[in-house]
């Protein structure tokens, strides 16, 4: 049982720290949920990529640094501690890329990963549909076989960043006759600018327009953009949800940095006689440390070759509720100033509010914890 780092890990961390110190913009970029901010963040991705910091855990052949999970965690800690910009290419790097490493072809990896890492192609995830949220397997958008590929039709929704993104990946019903709803689905990638695609931005709670719904009318997708075998879409997609709920979506670095900033805010703005608030600040500090250590334990098992399944649901429930509590505490500390919508904490708060909804709602995650980790009987869904 140890928490020590190797010399190589320390050197890697130091290199990341000094790079970030030189390059992180002095002033925050405009919100990546706006057209202007999207472009600025895309530029930042190109900067990161130029020195191979955009996907440190990828093989160097694709522009990464071959970092193992501990290296990646260290990078993330440094990244957020440095106050670096949010990652506009996150869907691609943390959701699509792992799927391509596991299920894609060599040709797909060579073609898709480098422009993903440089921010040249930004990806959107097109899973949800108006009638299919928690019950994702009920999705109805279709993929119909045609010469050399597939024609996609239907409607996708709640697609983060899709208003400005270049391409999207999603699951489609390719065999409506399949015996069970989970069967007969195909996972594929398509161009958001392709003929037949209409993108309608949907303003979020914070008024920012990068969210979108997608209307698809016989959109052609060539065979080389199918991921894995046709009909196997559900299985392939589910191997990515573990990533989404688990580490890659929210590494501890983000919360450690936020808890540090909250503790600093308490020292400058806090009323020492307000023990209620003081307690919540302390809880935020403890929560970030708990999440970090939980992750180290999880990563140690992962590095030793264990597969990690339903535990990612524990992770998801923890960070999403933690994030809201942390931001609520900051807003309470700020008092009337908290209402100012452009404040960093206010923006973080509105974003945190979505945490228990996306990546599988927390109700669904609690079902998974109860049934798969505690062995309780399945209830009616």
């Amino acid at each position: 049982m140890d928490l020590s780092h190797t010399d190589a890990e320390n050197a890697f961390r130091a290199e990341a720290r000094s790079w970030l110190r030189d390059r992180v913009p002095d002033r925050p970029l405009p919100s990546l949920e706006t057209a202007e901010g999207f472009a600025a963040h895309r530029n930042w991705e190109a900067w990161l990529h130029a020195d191979r910091w955009s996907a440190v855990s990828w093989p160097s052949a694709y522009g990464g640094r071959d970092a193992d999970i501990f290296g990646w965690l260290a990078f993330e800690e440094e990244y957020y501690a440095a106050g670096a910009p949010g990652r506009v290419s996150q869907n691609g790097i943390s959701l699509l890329a792992p799927t391509l490493f596991d299920h894609g072809t060599a040709e797909q990896r060579a073609r898709i990963l480098p422009p993903m890492a440089s921010g040249e192609v930004i990806w959107a995830q097109a899973w949800s549909e108006p009638e299919s949220g928690s019950d994702l397997a009920s999705l109805r958008s279709r993929a119909v076989r045609t010469d050399g590929g597939w024609l996609l039709s239907g409607q996708k929704t709640w697609s983060s960043r899709a208003a400005f993104a270049d391409r999207a990946f999603g699951i489609f019903r390719s065999d409506p006759e399949a015996a069970r709803p989970h069967h007969g689905l195909t996972y594929l990638m398509f161009d958001l600018a392709a003929p037949g695609v209409t993108v309608r931005p949907v303003g979020r709670l914070d008024g920012k327009p990068a969210f979108a719904e997608l209307f698809l009318d016989e959109v052609f997708v060539p065979d080389e953009d199918v991921i894995g075998e046709p009909g196997q879409g559900w299985r392939i997609a589910m191997s990515a949800t573990g990533n989404e709920r688990g580490l890659t979506l929210r590494s501890p670095g983000r919360f450690l940095a936020a808890a540090d900033r909250l503790a600093a805010l308490w020292r400058t703005h806090g009323d020492p006689s307000d023990s209620g608030l003081r307690d919540r600040v302390a809880d935020a500090v403890v929560g970030a440390r708990a999440y970090q250590l939980f992750t180290f334990a999880y990563a140690s098992r992962f590095a030793a070759g264990d597969t990690i399944g339903a535990e990612s649901s524990l992770n998801k429930v923890f960070w999403s509720e933690y994030d809201i509590a942390l931001h609520e505490t900051a807003l309470d500390l700020l008092g009337p100033e908290a209402e100012l919508a452009d404040g960093e904490w206010a923006q973080g708060y509105v974003f945190a509010l979505a945490g228990p909804i996306y990546a599988g709602t927390n109700e669904i995650q609690r079902d998974i914890i109860a049934e798969r980790l505690l062995g309780l009987p399945k209830g009616r869904r």
């Binding site: 928490l3 708990a290 999440y291 250590l293 140690s300 609690r366 079902d367 914890i369 209830g379």
Partner: protein
């Protein structure tokens, strides 16, 4: 980094679990609560043979320690089985004596390590746990370490298996000086740490018993464990415990390294573990319904422990203060 137990540590946990299961602690706990220390002392010496009380004693005093990770492992098992007695206090007394050194350490540590003697202690709190059941009651006042002359006045705890005493000041003066105050500080950290580990074990036992119960108990023609309100409460209980456990091991690593942040890490572990165990108790009681509200069900032994363990050796208030002080 390898932030997981190694094979030997996991085997240690398994062997303690087997030993405690074979003994069947509920009857031991009930006897202890009634003032009959015989079965508890017998189990104590089996645990000592397994090495539990040598873990915090340095080799110079015939121990094998300090081994905080193993202390965490064993105290999680002790909590899981509701082991009664001043287990935490004996470990903390060992740490105190090993810092203080001198004749008191030479006299007591080898015996505490082997299980030949048991001890309790009072640092800055009002009570000494189970002072009528032990061979030595140590008290610290400022820079003075005393061996109390007797257990003092008895007070009933919310957990009848925790017997509280207020030992009189005085007795035999064992040591005096800044090293006593330093020893008391370190011993306090170890007491909080071992209590945190014990609380995780208590919480796990409560969760496990409740999961088994809700699978068996039917209402409205179905197992109550298939109701979402029930499931979700148990899922939250598991989440609380699973995020407290790494804090306990993190504190163990800090204690092993003598890190400057050890005090804050212990406080974080104590806060989270105490809270998670207490939540587990509230959940267990609620989901058992009225049968949970009876003394007859063994569950009561764990239920009554959760709240006192949350507050002993560092209330949430105190722990939060330490966390923010860094």
């Amino acid at each position: 980094m390898r932030f997981v137990l190694d094979a030997e540590q996991r085997e240690f946990a398994r062997s303690l679990d087997a030993l405690l299961t074979a003994t069947g602690t509920p009857s031991v706990v009930r006897a202890w609560a009634a003032g009959d220390h015989g079965p508890g002392r017998a189990l104590w010496s089996r645990l000592a043979d397994a090495g539990v009380f040598a873990l915090a004693v340095p080799e110079t005093y015939e121990g094998v320690g300090p081994l905080p990770v193993e202390v965490a492992v064993s105290f999680m098992e002790l909590g899981r089985h509701a082991m009664p007695g001043p287990v935490v206090e004996t470990v903390a007394a060992s740490v105190l004596l090993s810092v203080v050194g001198g004749p008191a350490a030479k006299e007591w540590l080898p015996r505490l390590s082997s299980g030949a003697a048991t001890a309790t202690l009072r640092l800055d709190g009002p009570y000494a746990l189970d002072a009528d059941a032990v061979d030595a009651v140590f008290t610290v006042r400022g820079e003075e370490l005393w061996l109390a002359s007797g257990p003092g006045a008895f007070r009933v705890s919310a957990d009848p298996a925790r017997r509280l005493f207020s030992p009189d000041d005085g007795g035999t003066l064992l040591a005096r000086g800044t090293h006593v105050a330093e020893g008391a500080r370190v011993a306090g950290d170890w007491a909080a740490f071992a209590t945190a580990a014990q609380a995780v074990g208590v919480g796990e036992a409560l969760l496990r018993a409740t999961v088994e119960y809700v699978k068996r108990r039917t209402q409205f023609g179905t197992a109550i464990g298939s109701f979402q309100a029930v499931k979700h409460r148990l899922a939250d209980t598991l989440t609380g415990l699973e995020f407290a456990r790494p804090l306990v091991y993190g504190a163990a690593v800090s204690l092993a390294e003598g890190a400057a942040r050890a005090g804050a890490d212990v406080a974080a572990a104590k806060l989270a573990a105490g809270g998670a165990a207490y939540t587990a108790a509230r959940t267990a009681l609620q989901l058992h319904g009225a049968v949970g509200y009876t003394e007859e069900l063994d569950l009561a032994l764990w239920l009554r422990k959760a709240r006192p363990l949350r507050d002993a050796w560092g209330t949430p208030e105190v722990c939060r203060g330490r966390v923010l002080a860094g």
